[in-house]
Amino acid sequence: MAGPVRIPPAEALQRSYLTVRDPRMQRVLRVQAALGMTIREYLNGHGFVELLPPIIGPVADPGLRGAKQATINFYGREYKVMSSAILYKQMMAASLGKIYFFSPNVRLEPLETATTGRHLAEFVQVDIEEAGATYEDAMARAEDLVRTVIAHARGALGDDLVAFDRRLNGGSRPFRRLLYSEAVGLLKEHGREVPYGVEIPWEHEEFLSTLFEEPFFIHDYPRGSRGFYDREDPAKPGILRDFDLLYPEGYGEAISGAEREHEYAKVIARLRETGENPSKYGWYIDMLREGIPPSSGFGIGIERLTRYVCGLRSIWEARPYPKVPGVFSP
């Protein structure tokens, strides 16, 4: 990749009604539709049930690096617009076992993310959850899904890739798996110090991604660096059973996933990490008290996938009417 475009082109974004008629953009949107279809075919073929995604609720995912949730006035009470459907995924995995949503999310990201080239305030992720699965199962599922999508892109979308002058690597070997501690060590070797216990900063994540030719996993993040619902490993206190899949060549994060903390008392203690009164999560707490099965799952962002497959320099080229943090556009 030629390196992301850092500064969002505010004027072009304000005229996205023109951008969407550009032949190159039309091609991006057709590829995006085809990728969505491939994902659906794969998941349906493996026994997953597609469900309607929730859009609003009394609470949403609080585990968002600094982003603020959007709120609406719901008949006098404050409701959240889904920042992610994680809480509902657990609810539905407890019912149907293997489920997914094409879930639209809104996150009012800090302004500093406007220049990462891979953050949008509105995006769609395919949110997948499987009851009874471990995080190893979820990693295998994520790898199989991404491999299938890439193979399909190389085959059925070959002409499009040629048009984008895009060569997609990956698929012949299993994806590399790095422990979080190894990833941090690798960054340190390149003079990029990340204090232990901290999520890898955006610019370091991008750099790490340039060191690889194929998608790769980072797993076993330390507690505190991720949402309260990522399960702490009973055998490794302080370590979470979770993972990210990163695209290579500087494209960065593709997927975040984890095994879920599902035991009531553990979730209550972890929820306090957000500094909130757990009572705020009323229905979710009640559900856990009733009992739900263990589950694992992940989310894969459609715009980031599109960006990677088409080799686009910035995320705002990867969806119609993009909302870049801080930019006012249609």
Partner: protein, 456 residues
Amino acid sequence: MSEPLTKLFMKVASVRSAAAAGRSFLESYPVDEIIQKAKHGRDALYPFSDLDEYGRALLGADIGLKQLTRFATLDQLVLLPPIFTPKRLEKLTELGREPYFSDVDLETTIGGFRSRMPVTMASMGSTEVAHGASAQLGRGAAEAGIPIGLGENIATVWGYERRSKASMPSFKQRLFAYLEHLDGTHGGAVIQQSVEDASDELWNKVYTDPDVEPYFKKGLVAFEVKLGQGAKPGLGGETKVPRDVARSLKGTYYFPDDPERVDREMYERHSAPGTFTEDILRGQLRSLRNNFPRARIWIKAGPFRDLLPVFRVAWQERIDAVLADGKEGGTGMSPVIALKDLGLPTLACLTRISDARTEGLPLSFVLSGRLYDGGHVVKALALGASACAFGRPFVVAAGVAGAKGVRNFLEATEVEMRMLVSALGKYRLADVSREDVGSLDRHLADALNIPYVYAG
């Protein structure tokens, strides 16, 4: 006939008890001294009255006690100037002339912020007395170049951006009353978030606010995890609010009287103290670092018996500053029984800071709790604190002369600190140490590992 009389008697008694409460504050708190400093700045530093002025006065140390104290305070310590002063020789050599007290360098770093002196403005919350004066307090602190704290529930009670009451500033107006008067290199704003503020995502709001963004970029904003407060460790926040406010906050706070069903003028509003274990605290601090990488992280701890373990966690998690608030700290509203019986006195908190230094924890420590003059600060520094936070003195000073009163008070305090540090033969804060302080009480001397002054 006797009923009206009883009523009248009760009324007079209650007025008298209110007057007594006011009188007891005036007697036990150095309000006069603060008022003089707020009015006159450095001119208030000499004990002249209208009767005795320079050349006619025959003054000496006051050897009386205003009142008997139940527990030891920093006033039981004295500073111990020496005649042999190698550090003064160093300064003399550097300057090529005898140094004066004006040569003392008070500039320091507190929790990542540059400050003109080792003093911060303590976090004050949503109470009317603090909130009503907040524009003057903020401006005064900014112009004096010291960090400021913004306490809990300000946004929840007074609105984040839009005022919930026309006559009172919103949270953001209060924040910018400070930020807009900074000189660009000194100061910093430390923002707390109560359990209830968290419910409204206060920190996320601040962090994603385009108006505040430039200040994050400059590193001038900290988020402060509040683990209790001096006057009521282990209890949440308490205040009283009118019925309309109570109705709008029902569900967010605990109201012993349901504002929907019970008719009263004012309603007690309680917030939760928040539940912590070492694991929860650690997780919370790490989440903060992850979520807000451009914010500094401070901790405010009440006078808890396990302060030292909290300090250790703070050090391991690379927290920018820890503030320890002693039990005699100011409060808008705390149960009398809490004021009387809960928590460690400020001097005992200082002992824990001193222990942490002995262990080698290089944290930025801020001490607070009924501290109000330069002597308190220099003594605290000698025993390991990095700075002191003042609360009530600023409210009194702002009441006397607005932002100018705050600046005057700080000017006086600054000169006091320069005089005291230079008297110790030192010109840098980092040189002030345990050797510079002694105790008037033998037990205290043992506990603090400092000389008992009468022992020779």
